[in-house]
C-alpha cells in the first residue's frame, strides 16, 4: 500500500538518511526500529510532508506522491500521532478533532450536533469511550492519544503513524491502545509503529524495518526474528577508535559523590549510584528515560520526588545549581544555545559568568584586566578557536561553543562535572579534543558523569555505565560488560532483567 524507496535526506552537507526503504501493507502493523538518531523521525517527517526528501520516491497504492507540506500528506490519507500531542488543552475532544475545518450549519454557525455525531461514529469504530464534552486537559494521556487517532481517522487516514505512543502510558493503557490498533488493522488501516520497547513490538507488530545511522538495515517478519537479532541489527558492528585510552579510577579511589536514592516521580523506580575519583560514569538509555532529569535533580534544578545526595560522604541537598557550584559540582547542559550559553554575551563574559569571585577588586568591582587574562588562559587551555575573547558566541562552531562552556567550568576548582550529550552537533575533530579534555579532567582526580545517546561514545569513554530505562537505572555495567548489546538490551527491554 505504502512504499518509500531510496529516501535520502541531507541537511546542508550532512546526510542523515542514506537511501531508506519502507514498505507497509494495508492491514498490518509495521514497526520502525532504531536507536536515537537512527533517522526514524526524519523519515516520518518526510512521509508526512513536514520535510522534503533530497531524493527517493513515495508511492501510495502505486501512485507516486510528492508532499510539499503536511496538508498534502493528510489529503493523501496519511495520519500521524506525534509523541508530543498537537491538541489544544482547553478545547473538547470534538472541538479538537474538527479544529480549522468545523462543520457549519446553513447560517454559517457551528453545527455542533453533526460534529458530535461524527465523533461518536469514529470512537465507536475504535471501540473506545472517550468523554466528548470536557476539555482535553482533563483526559488521561491515553484518552488524548485516542482523540489524536480519531482526529486522523476523521481525515480519512488510511496510513497511520504512531510515534512512540506507549512512552507515557501505563501497562493497562498500552493494552487498550493495542486493542484499538488491532481493530484498525482489521479494518485495513496500515499502521507504522515506532517504539523502543522490543516486547511491545513482538506483541503487536507484523513486520519490522530497522534503521541505523540513517541507513536501511533490513526488513523482516516479526515471527522470523528474536530480541537478540533485533538488537544486533540496531547496533551493528561499528569500529570507533577516536577515543583516548581509558585509564580508569585507581582501585582505592574514594567515592566523591553518592546518590543514595533518587526517585524522579512518585511511584516511579528508585535508584542510586556512586561516582568515584578519576572516573567517567556513563549515563546511557533512551531519550526520556530519566538521565537528564536525574542529573538536574541532584543539582536542585528538577523537582524529584526523592533525592538523597552525599558529597564526600556528607548528605547535601542543593536548592539551586549555585549551591552545587559552591560544592564543586557543575553541569554542561545538552542544549548549549538554550541552556548553556548567553548568546547576547561575547565569549569573555560567557566564561566568567559564574566566577566573578575570582577577579574582584575592592570586594565589589570586577577587575576587568584580570577577568580578561583569566578568560584568555581558559580559552587557551581548551583551545577555543575564535577571533578573541570578545568574539560573539553565535559566530563559533558547535565544537567551539562547547569548549567555551567547558572553559567556564575549568575556570573554577571543580570536582565533578556532568556532561549532557557532550558532543551533540560537533564535528569529528572537535569531538576528539573534547574527549581528551574530559580525560585530562579525570586524570587530575576529578570525576565526570557523561549522559550520552551515542553508544560508541558511551562505550569508548565510560569506566562504568548506568543504563536508564523508564525513569530509573535498570542496570550498571562495568569493564568488559560495556557492550552495545548489553546496553541496548537493558535500555529497551523490561526492567526485571539483570546483568549476568
Amino acid at each position: 500500500m505504502l512504499q518509500l524507496t531510496g529516501i535520502k535526506k541531507s541537511f546542508g552537507n550532512i546526510q542523515v538518511l542514506h537511501g531508506v526503504d519502507l514498505d507497509v501493507k494495508a492491514g498490518e502493523v509495521h514497526a520502525l526500529l532504531g536507536e536515537n538518531g537512527a533517522g526514524k523521525s526524519t523519515l516520518m517527517k518526510i512521509l508526512t510532508g513536514i520535510l522534503q526528501a533530497t531524493s527517493g520516491r513515495i508511492t501510495i497504492d502505486g501512485r507516486e506522491h510528492r508532499f510539499a507540506n503536511y496538508d498534502e500528506a493528510i489529503a493523501a490519507g496519511i495520519g500521524i500521532v506525534f509523541q508530543e500531542f498537537s491538541l489544544i488543552p482547553y478545547l473538547t475532544a470534538v472541538e479538537n478533532m474538527f479544529l480549522a475545518r468545523e462543520m457549519r450549519s446553513g447560517l454559517g454557525l457551528l453545527d455542533r450536533k453533526a460534529m458530535q455525531a461524527r465523533a461518536r461514529e469514529i470512537f465507536a469504530r475504535l471501540e473506545v469511550d472517550v468523554p466528548l464534552d470536557v476539555p482535553i486537559a482533563r483526559l488521561s494521556v491515553a484518552e488524548q492519544q485516542f482523540v489524536e487517532i480519531a482526529k486522523a481517522l476523521s481525515l480519512e487516514a488510511r496510513i497511520l503513524v504512531l510515534d512512540e505512543p506507549t512512552a507515557t502510558l501505563t501497562p493497562t493503557e498500552v493494552a487498550h491502545l493495542f486493542k484499538v490498533m488491532r481493530e484498525l488493522r482489521k479494518q485495513g488501516v496500515a499502521l507504522v509503529f515506532i517504539s523502543h520497547h522490543l516486547e511491545e513490538i513482538f506483541e503487536i507488530c507484523d513486520r519490522i524495518t530497522v534503521l541505523r545511522d540513517g541507513e536501511f538495515v533490513g526488513s523482516c517478519m516479526v515471527s522470523d526474528t528474536d530480541t537478540d537479532r533485533l538488537v544486533e541489527m540496531m547496533v551493528g558492528r561499528r569500529i570507533e577508535n577516536s577515543f583516548p585510552p581509558k585509564s580508569g579510577p585507581r582501585p582505592d579511589a574514594r567515592v566523591m559523590l553518592e546518590c543514595e536514592e533518587i526517585q524522579l516521580r512518585k511511584g516511579g523506580p528508585v535508584s542510586g549510584f556512586e561516582l568515584r575519583e578519576g572516573e567517567i560514569l556513563g549515563f546511557a538509555g533512551l531519550v526520556g528515560s530519566g538521565r537528564t532529569e536525574t542529573a538536574l535533580a541532584m543539582l536542585g534544578a528538577y523537582p524529584a520526588a526523592r533525592c538523597k545526595v552525599l558529597v564526600d560522604g556528607e548528605e547535601t541537598r542543593f536548592k539551586e545549581p549555585a549551591e552545587a557550584l559552591a560544592h564543586g559540582i557543575g553541569l554542561l547542559p545538552e542544549s548549549r544555545k538554550e541552556q548553556g550559553l548567553i548568546t547576547s554575551f561575547p565569549i569573555l563574559q560567557n566564561i566568567s559568568l559564574n566566577n566573578y569571585g575570582k577577579y574582584r577588586r575592592r570586594h565589589w568591582f570586577i577587575d576587568l584586566r584580570k577577568e580578561r587574562a583569566c578568560t584568555e588562559a581558559a580559552m587557551e587551555q581548551v583551545r577555543v578557536k575564535a577571533q578573541g575573547p570578545l568574539a560573539r558566541i553565535d559566530t563559533l562552531s558547535g565544537g567551539n561553543q562547547q569548549k567555551v562552556v567547558i572553559a567556564r567550568w575549568l575556570n573554577h576548582q571543580m570536582k565533578v562535572l556532568i556532561f549532557d550529550e557532550p558532543t551533540r552537533g560537533i564535528d569529528v575533530g572537535a569531538k576528539a579534543e573534547i574527549y581528551q579534555l574530559m580525560r585530562d579532567f579525570t586524570a587530575q582526580g576529578c570525576a565526570i558523569i557523561m549522559i550520552s545517546s551515542e553508544l560508541p561514545e558511551v562505550i569508548g569513554m565510560s569506566d562504568r555505565v548506568c543504563v536508564f530505562n523508564s525513569g530509573g537505572i535498570a542496570a550498571t555495567v562495568e569493564g568488559e560488560a560495556i557492550t552495545s548489546e548489553e546496553i541496548m538490551t537493558h535500555a529497551t527491554t523490561g526492567r526485571d532483567r539483570h546483568v549476568a
Partner: protein, 323 residues
C-alpha cells in the same frame, strides 16, 4: 614595534564613527539630535541654558524611575508599580513629617523604606512565588495607590518643613538639585551594571535565564534585587516630587510607569531583556522630556501631544526593532 602599532591602530579605529554607529546608543542619540534640532527650529528659546536646565529638571522624576525600570527590564521583567510606589512613598514621607511631627530625616527614611519594602515584595513574588512580573506589579500598583489614599484620606498632605523643597527646586550654581540627583543615580547604576558581578548577572538573566541558573547564577536573588532597586529609585523620585510640590500627593504619578517604560525602550533596551545600556535610558528620558517641552513651547493642544508622543514612540521602536 610595528605589531604594537597595529594594536593601537585597531583600538583607535574601534572608537571611530563605525563603532558609534554600531553601538546600541546610536539610534537613541540620533533620535535625540533630530528631535532637538526640530524643536530648536520651531522655538528659538529651546536652546537657551535656562530652558535646557528646565527640561532636565522636568525629566528628572521619570529619569530616576527609569533607572530601576532599566534593571528590571534588562532581566526580562517589568515593573508597573513605580508611579504608585512613588506616590505612596511621598505621601508617607509627608505624613511622618506633618501628621506625626517626626524629624524630617525620619520622614525621608520612612519613604525610602516604603519603596524598598514594596520593591522587595515585588521581587519576592516574582522570584520565589514564580508569578509573572506584569501581574505582580499590577497588583502592587493597586495596593500602593490604595494605601496612599487611605493614609491621606485622599487629600494632599501639606505643611512639610521648607528645607525639603531643596530636593525639588533647589539649585547648585545653575544646576537644579533634581538633575544632580538624577546624574548621580545614573552614574551609580552604570557602575553597578558595568563593573560588578551583579550587573553581569542582570544581563545574563535577561539573555538566557535558564543558562544563567544552570551555570550557578543565583537567579532568584538577582531578580529580588532588581525589583528592590526599582522600588528604591521610585522612592528617590518621591523625594524630588515631594520637594517640588511641597506636599505628599497620593494621586501623583499616575501613568508614570508607562513614561518610564517608554524612556527605557526609547533608550534602546530590549523589552525582552538581556540587551541595553543605562546611558540609553538617560537619553530616552531626555528625549521624552524634550518632546513634552517642545510641544508645549509650540503651543500644541495637550491632548494632541499625547497622540504625537505615542506615534513617535511607535516610530522609534519600529526603526530600532532589529536589536
Amino acid at each position: 614595534m610595528s605589531h604594537n602599532a597595529t594594536i593601537t591602530e585597531t583600538k583607535q579605529g574601534g572608537i571611530g564613527l563605525g563603532r558609534i554607529l554600531h553601538s546600541p546608543l546610536a539610534l537613541p542619540l540620533i533620535g535625540l539630535i533630530v528631535v532637538s534640532l526640530l524643536m530648536g527650529f520651531a522655538s528659538e528659546n529651546f536652546f537657551s541654558v535656562s530652558n535646557i536646565m528646565n527640561v532636565l529638571r522636568q525629566v528628572s522624576i521619570i529619569g530616576i524611575l527609569a533607572v530601576g525600570m532599566t534593571f528590571v527590564i534588562l532581566t526580562g521583567g517589568i515593573d508597573l508599580s513605580v508611579g504608585a510606589v512613588m506616590a505612596l512613598s511621598g505621601t508617607i514621607t509627608a505624613g511622618m513629617m506633618v501628621n506625626m511631627g517626626l524629624p524630617g530625616a525620619i520622614g525621608l527614611l520612612a519613604g525610602l523604606g516604603v519603596g524598598l519594602g514594596l520593591g522587595l515584595f515585588n521581587g519576592f513574588m516574582v522570584a520565589w512565588g514564580r508569578m509573572p512580573a506584569i501581574i505582580v506589579t499590577l497588583a502592587t500598583m493597586g495596593i500602593a495607590r490604595g494605601f496612599g489614599l487611605l493614609y491621606s484620606g485622599g487629600y494632599p498632605i501639606s505643611g512639610i518643613p521648607s528645607w525639603v523643597s531643596w530636593f525639588g527646586i533647589g539649585r547648585v550654581g545653575i544646576v537644579p538639585v533634581p538633575v544632580i540627583a538624577m546624574v548621580v543615580i545614573y552614574a551609580l547604576a552604570w557602575v553597578l551594571l558595568q563593573r560588578t558581578a551583579f550587573g553581569r548577572h542582570v544581563y545574563a538573566i535577561g539573555g538566557n535565564e535558564l543558562a544563567a541558573k544552570l551555570s550557578g547564577v543565583k537567579t532568584r536573588r538577582v531578580k529580588l534585587a532588581v525589583y528592590a532597586l526599582s522600588g528604591l529609585t521610585s522612592s528617590f523620585a518621591a523625594i524630588v516630587l515631594t520637594g517640588r510640590l511641597m506636599s505628599g500627593q497620593p494621586n501623583a504619578g499616575v501613568g508614570f510607569e508607562l513614561d518610564a517604560i517608554a524612556a527605557v525602550v526609547l533608550g534602546g533596551t530590549a523589552i525582552a531583556g538581556g540587551r541595553g545600556l543605562i546611558l540609553g535610558t538617560l537619553i530616552g528620558a531626555i528625549l521624552l522630556g524634550i518632546l513634552n517641552n517642545g510641544l508645549n513651547l509650540m503651543g500644541i493642544n495637550p491632548y494632541m501631544q499625547d497622540v504625537i508622543k505615542g506615534l513617535i514612540i511607535l516610530l522609534a521602536i519600529y526603526i530600532g526593532r532589529e536589536w
